[in-house]
Subunit: 357 residues, 2 copies
């Protein structure tokens, strides 16, 4: 088990060694560690090695000039200058919040970025300002549009955070696919199968093989198959791609570049880097904040008190599981898998920073 | 088969007979008929009888004072004064578009409204202004949150419309459930079953009975079951309810009043009427409109040209099926089921307006 502060310091030092400023390194470390605390370890420390290798390959700009390239009273476009996604993402959400303060709402598209970690982190930045926060991003192609045989879209997650009063906030943060790809890896390691509705083979036939993607297959959009509404999951993933990338000037759909240093850059581009899209709406641009929070408390209590289905103890509010993880993991410490510890030791050795374990 | 203009004139005259102004009647008729043309007949002429009966029961205000009750440069709240949903919805989308023209984006929440027909109609209002349009609404409770046994949310649809250049626009318009309730009715009439993943019984067990809802069961959110991501469909439906109703001052969740005159009004309220939420973003608040449309054309062509899955001929873009319906139905005419013709004749008799068929 590692403490938050131990992993935070290590991550910050590694990023500084790569050439990021102390302030930027701390900002990125906060997002990596937030993923660990919230129990979304697929976007936590495990990703540091990916960025480290991208940096070794000269594919990450560590001294970016992140700037607004277009704006209106309630909108902006930010160019991330080819850096690690957390930096333009934090800047963009701050701009969205500032615009919401004066215009009521703020909407910021980002281009020339890369993987930004968990979308929920940015949506939640709005909460302390009594604003509703929104964040989404495109990602490397893994998902086939309904009726297609080819991965054309990322798992394109969406996060929405809504402040409440006495109750904890509502925080939804989800990929627009039935499950994350991590489930495939776990099933493959155990020699098991995945559920039908998660993936298809290279011809577009339903499959339960956890190695479907390695063999030319694709993940399926939320809904799983047409009969269960996968065309709606496709609509969602597509809308994210359009807002994050078509509207910002980033690469969209199958043109989104890989985040793995061992994968070559694509021959064709449709823009610059990855794309994100952020939003903030000031609650009191709609009704007094106190009144809204009382209403939101009542909404949460109403859903929480709904009769549970047979075999279930309680009805959850979006954000409950992650908040409970946060409380538990902050207390118990962060557990890293042996492979991740080995990766961190590799980085420690190369950078001369100490890593215990 | 009926022509568009025949049904448009009939619908307008019925609404005028109910007491709506000529202009308001025409506006509502346009939305009812747009649903028929787009092939979404569940929201078309069939609904006129529901409104007619609500009016007979004194539950629709035909001379509403629809007004902005709160606003900021990019946001507003509109009170629908208890009228038919199309009127505050059109007004709200117009306000969103006007605000987007000056502030870059406009976001309008509506309370004290009722069923507004198809969400896509309002999102598409943005297209001719080179704006991205957004619309969603809550609705009477039919859907159980994941792990709950009780209907707490409506089918809460979301629509997003994006302008393109040479290509037709991207128009996504979908309920946050795997299918519409209409599928249940059709299966029940045929004596068949529904797919697992659409509904649960009164205790929250999976069921394939098309009469599940009549027996105390619920529809399930998009995803169907937890294993296939129904908690993400629940997040979506919940987010719609919060934006449309908590933020506007409308009834949320289980408090949304019924649209059927034979169902009593609920004992408890959490606001006024139904709630909607609309948005418009000026494309050139992000990049020059011409550049965006060229990019959007490329996005559409890229997806359309993706290799189809085995057994499928082509990959669709959201909006393709409805646009093809529109072309065909405008040419062939609008077909009404015998029960709907009977309803229209009942209305014709009561109002003294002629209806053929």
């Amino acid at each position: 088990m590692y403490s938050y502060s131990y992993l935070f310091d290590f991550t910050s030092l590694v990023l500084q060694k790569m050439g990021f400023s102390e302030e930027d390194s701390a900002q990125c470390a906060r997002v990596f560690l937030a993923a660990e605390l919230r129990g979304i370890s697929t976007h936590g420390v495990i990703r540091i090695a990916d960025y480290f290798k991208l940096w070794e390959a000269g594919r990450i700009n560590v001294t970016p000039d992140i700037r607004i390239v277009h704006e209106s009273p309630s909108t902006a476009v930010i160019d991330g200058d080819g850096t690690i996604g957390m930096l333009p993402a934090c800047k963009a959400m701050s701009v969205a919040i500032a615009k919401a303060r004066t215009a009521g709402s703020g909407w910021v598209a980002v281009r020339n970025s890369s993987n930004f970690g968990i979308a929920g982190y940015y949506a939640m930045m709005a909460l302390e300002h009594d604003m509703i926060g929104f964040a989404c991003t495109n990602a490397s192609p893994l998902v086939a549009p309904t009726f297609s045989a080819i991965p054309m879209l990322g798992t394109n997650p969406i996060a929405i955070a809504v402040p409440a009063g006495q109750q904890p906030p509502f925080v939804a943060d989800f990929a627009t696919t039935p499950v994350t790809r991590g489930k495939f890896t776990i099933a493959a390691r155990k020699g098991g199968k995945i559920s039908f509705g998660y993936a298809q083979d290279a011809e577009g036939n339903p499959t339960d093989a956890p190695t479907a993607i390695e063999h030319g297959g694709s993940m399926l959009p939320l809904g799983g198959d047409r009969e269960h509404g996968s065309h709606k999951g496709y609509c969602l993933g597509a809308a994210v791609d359009i807002l994050a990338a078509v509207l910002s000037g980033a690469n969209f759909g199958p043109f989104v570049p890989p985040m793995m240093s061992y994968l070559p850059l694509l021959d064709q581009k449709s823009g610059e880097g990855w794309g994100h899209f952020f939003g903030a709406m000031r609650v009191d641009a709609f009704m007094p904040a106190g009144e809204f929070k009382t209403r939101m408390d009542k909404w949460i209590e109403t859903m929480r008190n709904a009769q549970p289905a047979k075999g279930h103890e309680r009805v959850l509010i979006p954000g409950d599981p992650e908040r409970e993880n946060e409380e538990r993991i902050a207390r118990e410490g962060i557990d890293l898998l042996p492979q991740i510890v080995a990766d961190m030791k590799m980085i420690a050795q190369k950078t001369g920073i100490k890593f215990e374990g």
